[in-house]
Amino acid sequence: MKRFSAEGGFTLIDLTVGLVLLGIVLLSIYALFRPTFAFSRIVGERLAAQQDIRLAIDRMSRDLHETTMVPGRLRVYAAEAGCAGDYEGCIGFVTARDSECTGSFQLMGGAPNWQATLYVWRDTAANELRLHCETNTTFPVATWPPPSLEPYTVIGTRVVAASFTLEPFGKPEPTSVAMAVEEQVPGLSRSSLPKTLFNRTVFVPQN
């Protein structure tokens, strides 16, 4: 009876041993689930990065669909045309949307009434994909960079590579423009998975 009375509460040792055992159990459970957590984090980060790329491309989608492949109205700038050093993946093309390139589509006799020029490029220092609306002209400059690239909108971050290509490649009269973006996935230093994600989409300008 005494024995039972004395055991009505826990001694410090009981508690310590219990907590240690619980800790061991929890650690074991954590260890068991650790790869799952890591996988969860990696998947989350990769999906987030993939979403970023998609959103950057989506941000360009309508503008590229609505522009034109007419020579001189859409220009892709190679390194020889000045898109080098601080710049990569440079493109300029017209838009018929007013109000800083985001307003309504302007028509003149049913045809697009071009309002401005959009410039998109990757800033190699900041690893950002940037977009600038130039309302003073409806012709992209012949060589990069245009007189001003500010203000700009950041449409992609952690972008480690970007390119625009006219397709069919090498043809004198291309019909579409391919956009390729590579984004760095954060926090993957110890993962064996690729450190970047890549997305390439082809747009056919309709005007």
Partner: protein, 526 residues
């Protein structure tokens, strides 16, 4: 057993029983922990999958909307009358690609394009995650016009001497919109002095048209002289090319029309060379045509078009709006507008003698018409904002100044053809000589001949059954389009020599052909 006895008698719980409770607690904690982690993981994955699913649905709905727009286009193409074709306000809905599209033609939400144009709108819808994901696109198009060309010749199109031609847009906004130039056979530039869309290359060039005198670059929407380098070897494709139209190397849908180059599509040649020039850069650089500016050269298969004389004859016979002029001309019993040669000249003389009296509607003349207008006179047949279509069953030869302008504020005014030279049912076997030195021949096959120094101000379509020639110092000021056919003769479809042609292209002028539709613009609403 002792413990059990004690327990059964209401004694405190045994140690073993209490320890089982603590283990259960720990197990519950662990299970809760694992469940929370698991649910979070599933939630994260679910969110990401939802995003991916929605983006996939957005992409699909866009292409389904595009399919709807294509269906709308097909709807107009299949219509007996593309100009009046329309859907109901609720549109046409059909399942497609796992979703559905609805399209409207000039009905429901499909509004917003200019008068006379068709507005096509389509919405594509895809259901994803219990939500409807839509995409909406809209297009403006010219009905009844199977392809867009400001100046088109079935046979050769020739630019000779120091001819100066502008194929400008009619509606001028920001720079751009020049008209296309095309042929089924050959487009020939005789020499390096030919000017085509050469906008104030060295200094501002003023052009005098019916609206007044303008810097030529203003015709294309420029507010200042374009800053470009006209030297092709330094900059073979200056940016300014983008504002002009294309050169269409065309082939009729019915088959190949032979040309001097031996190519399946029409060829572009320079001088006597019969080698096809492949690009604008080659045209300007390798062939030294430094004053020729077009956007690009492209091949296209397009239908061969023709106007039916019976249609215009019937319209003229139904047209009683000129009966007062007929009476003035001594043709009291004549109420319609289908004239013989003598009748027509009697009526035209009344137009000259009675200012304010003009011909209206479709006028059909059963003869070759040689217009010799004195230098001090401008023969305005239709008035300042008329609706005259002059249809000639023979040739039309112009010596002097002839005006036939339309009310361009209305779609019908822009659609109304200006001059239709249909040719005689039986052309003469012996040609008649016209112009200085009798250098132009005509047999009544349907040629429009502008003699030296003559001037034509016209709106709408200028159509000829057997070609048009613009002789030195002549000038054309037109808002509309030109289509020149060929009567299986060796004559070119269009020739301009040492003359000035300002053609402000209005695609509505081609609606008279009543076939198909041509897209002018496309936009994504959301």
């Amino acid at each position: 057993m002792t413990a059990m006895h004690q327990h059964s008698r209401g004694t405190p719980p045994s140690r073993d029983t209490g320890e089982r409770g603590q283990a259960l607690l720990a197990l519950l904690l662990a299970a809760t922990f694992v469940t929370v982690i698991g649910v979070s993981l599933v939630g994260l994955m679910h969110t990401d999958m939802s995003h991916a699913t929605i983006q996939y649905a957005v992409s699909r709905s866009y292409y389904i909307a595009q399919a709807g727009l294509e269906e709308a286009t097909a709807h107009v193409f299949e219509a007996a009358d593309p100009l009046t074709d329309a859907t109901s306000a609720i549109g046409v809905t059909a399942p497609y690609g796992g979703g559905q599209y609805t399209y409207w033609i000039d009905a429901g939400p499909a509004t917003g394009c200019s008068a006379g144009l068709k507005t096509l709108e389509a919405v594509g819808q895809v259901t994803a995650l219990g939500r409807v994901i839509p995409a909406r696109v809209r297009a403006c198009a010219v009905p009844g016009t199977p392809f867009l060309a400001a100046l088109f010749g079935v046979s050769q199109v020739e630019f000779q001497g120091t001819s100066q031609t502008y194929l400008a847009p009619y509606d001028v906004g920001t720079p751009g919109g020049g008209g296309n130039l095309g042929s089924f056979s050959e487009i020939n530039f005789e020499g390096t002095e030919v000017r085509l869309n050469a906008l104030s290359e060295d200094a501002t060039t003023l052009m005098t048209v019916r609206d007044g005198a303008f810097a030529d670059y203003a015709l294309f929407g420029f507010f200042a002289r374009p800053d470009y380098n006209p030297t092709p070897t330094e900059d073979p494709t200056p940016w300014v090319l983008g504002v002009f139209g294309d050169i269409l190397k065309a082939q009729p849908a019915t088959g190949v029309i032979p040309n001097p180059c031996g190519t399946a599509y029409a060829c572009v040649t320079v001088g006597n060379n019969i080698t096809d020039v492949p690009s604008v850069a080659d045209l300007r650089e390798a062939n030294y045509l430094q004053h020729v500016y077009m956007k690009r050269l492209r091949e296209a298969t397009v239908p061969q078009l023709a106007l039916d004389p019976a249609f215009f004859q019937h319209q003229a016979e139904q047209n009683t709006t000129n009966s007062d002029l007929n009476k003035l001309a001594g043709l009291a019993a004549k109420t319609d507008s289908h004239y013989t040669y003598n009748e027509f000249y009697s009526v035209v003389s009344q137009v000259v003698m009675h200012p304010g009296h003009y011909l209206q509607g479709t006028v059909y003349v059963d003869a070759t018409l040689p217009f010799s207008v004195p230098a001090n006179l401008t023969l305005n047949l239709g008035g300042p904002a008329g609706n005259l279509t002059l249809a000639v069953a023979g040739d039309l030869v112009l010596n002097g100044t002839l005006v036939n302008t339309h009310d361009l504020t209305t779609a019908s005014g822009r659609r109304t053809p200006g001059i239709v030279v249909l040719g005689a049912p039986q052309p003469a076997s012996n040609p008649t000589r016209w112009c200085t030195g009798g250098q132009e021949y005509a047999t009544g096959s349907g040629r429009l001949i502008m003699c030296e120094g003559s001037s034509l101000v016209v709106d709408g379509l200028v159509y000829t059954q057997d070609g048009m020639v613009v002789r030195p110092r002549a000038s054309v000021d037109q808002v509309g389009a030109m289509y020149h056919n060929n009567q299986n003769s060796p004559d070119p479809s269009f020739t301009t020599r040492d003359a000035t042609v300002v053609l402000r292209f209005d695609p509505l002028a081609l609606s008279i052909f009543g076939k198909g539709m041509s897209m002018l613009s496309w936009q994504q609403l959301h």
